[in-house]
């Protein structure tokens, strides 16, 4: 864990720890922010007879657990797509996992995949909202293009990746954190998720996840 290096990004008068585990720790609010976990996705596939490896979500949650013990957040914000689909046994697994951190509040900003009945989230002690605003910072699942009246907005949904090109026709494609003029986009936290290539304006900050470290790409 110690060899893993984050990058502290001072932005909008706040300190954002960009972490190679595909999460942000918001120092001022003691809040861990993740997006697009897609828990239960592999199980959803297996239930339909498609034998993807079991145990992917357990590993994802273990990674989150490591982040929690390291940064001791008071709150976790999930910017949408926490569970992949309808209820399956991974929800039960999560319930057990959740009990370790009963004192930490979990806020889910509803994404297009979050389709389970409200009662399920209630049982899991997850507060569900369509949007969330904390100290002027707004959270909504799908990125917005225009200014929406808030100081700044964080989103997910896109699963962003950034392509770098250079001499000798080299090319690299890596998951990234993106900070647009009004809206930032988080990388997908879940391991069993794809990514889409981002085409940012030249002056927008982009941080790529390069193995165990974070590197500012532009």
């Amino acid at each position: 864990m110690d060899s893993v290096v984050g990058e502290i990004f001072h932005f909008q008068q706040q300190h954002w720890h960009l972490l190679p585990q595909r999460a942000i720790f918001w120092e001022e609010e003691k809040t861990l922010i993740v997006s697009d976990m897609h828990l239960g996705k592999a199980t959803h596939f297996r239930k339909a007879g498609i034998a993807v490896p079991a145990g992917i979500e357990q590993e994802d949650l273990f990674r989150l657990q490591q982040l929690i013990t390291r940064y001791l957040p008071q709150r976790i914000i999930i910017v949408g797509d926490m569970f992949h689909s309808t209820e399956n046994n991974d929800v039960q697994y999560f319930r057990v996992w959740r009990q370790q951190f009963a004192n930490i509040s979990i806020n889910l900003v509803k994404g297009n995949h979050d389709i389970m009945p409200d009662a399920v989230y209630e049982q899991l002690q997850i507060q569900v909202n369509t949007t969330l605003t904390i100290s002027g910072i707004h959270f909504i699942h799908e990125p917005c293009d225009d200014h929406n009246g808030f100081q700044y907005t964080f989103s997910g949904h896109f699963h962003p990746a950034f392509v770098m090109q250079g001499a000798g026709k080299q090319r690299l494609r890596l998951p990234c954190f993106y900070f647009g003029p009004h809206c930032g986009i988080l990388p997908a936290f879940g391991h069993f998720t794809g990514s889409a290539t981002l085409d940012p304006a030249a002056h927008d900050p982009v941080f790529v996840i390069a193995g165990k470290s974070i590197i500012r790409a532009q």
Partner: protein, 817 residues
Amino acid sequence: MQQRSGGWKVIHQWLEGNEFKPFKFQEDAWKAYLQGKSGIVNAPTGFGKTFSLFLGVLIAWIDAHPKDYTHKTKNGLQLLWITPLRALAKDIARAMEAVLQELNIPWQVGIRSGDTSLATRAAQKKQMPEILLITPESLHLLLAQKEYPNLFKHLHTVVVDEWHELIGSKRGVMVELGLSRLKGLRKEQLKVWGISATIGNLDEALEVLLGPYHNDGLIIRAKLKKNIALKSVIPQEIENYPWAGHLGIKMLPQALPVIHDSQTTLIFTNTRSQSEIWYQALLKEDPMLAGALALHHGSIDMELRIWVEEALHNGILKAVVCTASLDLGVDFRPVDSVIQVGSPKGVARFLQRAGRSGHQPGAVSKIFFLPTHALELVEAAALKAAMEEELIESRMPVLLAYDVLLQYLMTLAVSDGFHAAEIWEEISRTFCYQHITEDEWLWLLSFLTTGGDALGSYDEFRKVEREGDFFICRSRMMAMRHRLHIGTIVSDAMLKVKFMTGGYIGVIEESFISRLQPGDSFTLAGRNLEFTLIKDMTVLVRKSNSKRSIVPSYQGGRIPLSSNLGRMLRQKFNEALSGKSRDPELIALQPLFQLQETLSHIPKDNELLIEKINTKDGYHLFVYPFEGRLVHEVMAALLAYRLSLIQPITFSIAMNDYGFELLSDQPIPLTLENAKQLFSTDNLLIELQTSVNATEMARRKFRDIAVIAGLIFQGYPGKHKANRHLQSSASLLFNVFKDYDPQNLLLKQAFNEAFFYQMEEARLRETLERIAVSKIVITTPQRLTPFCFPIKVDSLRDTMTSEKLEDRIKKLITTND
């Protein structure tokens, strides 16, 4: 005596009445068949190979029922005729029906393929026709039906047509598996025959068809030769002819006289995009061709393709621009000329295409070779020589295709279920699975029942149920899904293309359309179309008047040079160098060879040429082994890997059939002193495995494997949206398997396919051994040479690196600043 049998006499009388005289190979085949043998008939098209087996079956039938063969009906399925092409089935059925009618045999001939209507299927289930023509996929679909053994109760003969086309592919494995089940049902009563054109490994083809333990198989050879006249169309000004390129449009004016002087011409291109471009360009060059020129490739609407084929039969068309889509299939009598645009990359394929003209036995097949870039003319000379020496490629059979086996087991599970011991016995007697281990078999079974290992109490995997030794799928939903997925031909997700006003045009790759903006124009089926929107998996377009339009580049268009042709190619370069060649192609190329010699060097037979050139792109290293792009791809990765051990360095890699290029942002540490060591066979296997490319190659192979094994859910036809939570890409699956289940057999298969089929490790080793005894010549030309130019402009590139990811990124950032 067999010859005197009643059936033999009836057939002979009928042949004589029609003034047919049977070829010797046909009579040989009848004899062998009547003796109860199995085997392969090897004959070129146009010589009645269908009759060599079909009439044998009829003789046996008449012999068995001498009194009532003219009115015995409802006999059940007697003869199963497997064909790779639906279009072939129709014509063969027609020919068979004509014979049956004249002989007064009231047999039914049925066709079973993806096009067969539901009503016909139901009727067939009630009463099978005596002869059923079927594709490998449809055979497996029959095995996926409840109570399928009833369909085959009377079956005694299976014929596999165009076996040479099937054997090197996973469709061939489907045939092997289908046969293993039919043999299991019918035991010794089943005779299996193949029909094959000449290939390099015909004996092996027999082993694959009958299984490695067969003892009664034989090969009946027709010993008939087709006369082929090959003529190269030589550019008028070779000095100005492009050094690189793959379209050959500049040569189009020289193709027109061929079309005008022939009755009907087939113009073969190597890719679908190229055929689109040629179609447009021909119409522009000669507007009189409008209405008499057609286009035929795999993305064009089936009905339109059938229309083109009919029109070819009837001689309405002057010319058809086509791709491999017309390689196979029935003979079109009016076709008397073939134009091959660009290198066909193999002797067998070239012969096959040439054979599409001049069908009458004894007629000459005329084929014109039209180069798309200057150096390709050398390939024409090489092809000619290879044809004379009858150097025809082998088709390597597929081994241990776990993906196809998983699909097959699921097929049996959704019909009546299967007993593992029985099926194990059957499949381990096939060529493909003769070396499967018991552990692998158990893994496959558990993959279907428990979804592999690593089970926790939270697992909900559901697919096949196990009851002792019996395996069955009881979910109707999964059974239906599986039936929709049977097959091994995997293509990129295809979308239908329709006019806004209605009217279907064809299909197009999703990846191509996703790059277009509404309002952009593109070309499909010879039309300029404007992209409007995508709705319900359909691309809606309107007619475009735009002068500029994008031609889709389709995947899978690139065929590598075969090793036979590569060897000939090296010989021809040698001859060209000697200046004594009498090939018109080589004589025409002299100016280009002189330029190459002045700028750099032309390698002799015992030399390996390496060129080091610096341009604004960076430091280039070009190497020319002339071994075909597959071998070059691997050699390039290997060399890059070995160079990267000397110092941290990153390469981008490009290759073509003549050589490969390593490009770097820093000088490349290859010298005359270390060159031999860099090309040695020491530690070859280990270093191949460590070279980054193995993973990337395996990842590409995994796509097909994942689809065939049923890991990728393609959705129901027309019901795309409903299942979006089950969508995932093969690349993503590959990643999760690699990280979470590295022992997975499908992953192992992907690496195997990359190593043994794609990398052609044996051929690579031979090449390296050849280099070891060659003289290495390194030149440093001041500008790009005729040899290196086509490689440099190639846009498909791989990467090989020994630098740390972080370092590479930092470098990329600095160079961009």
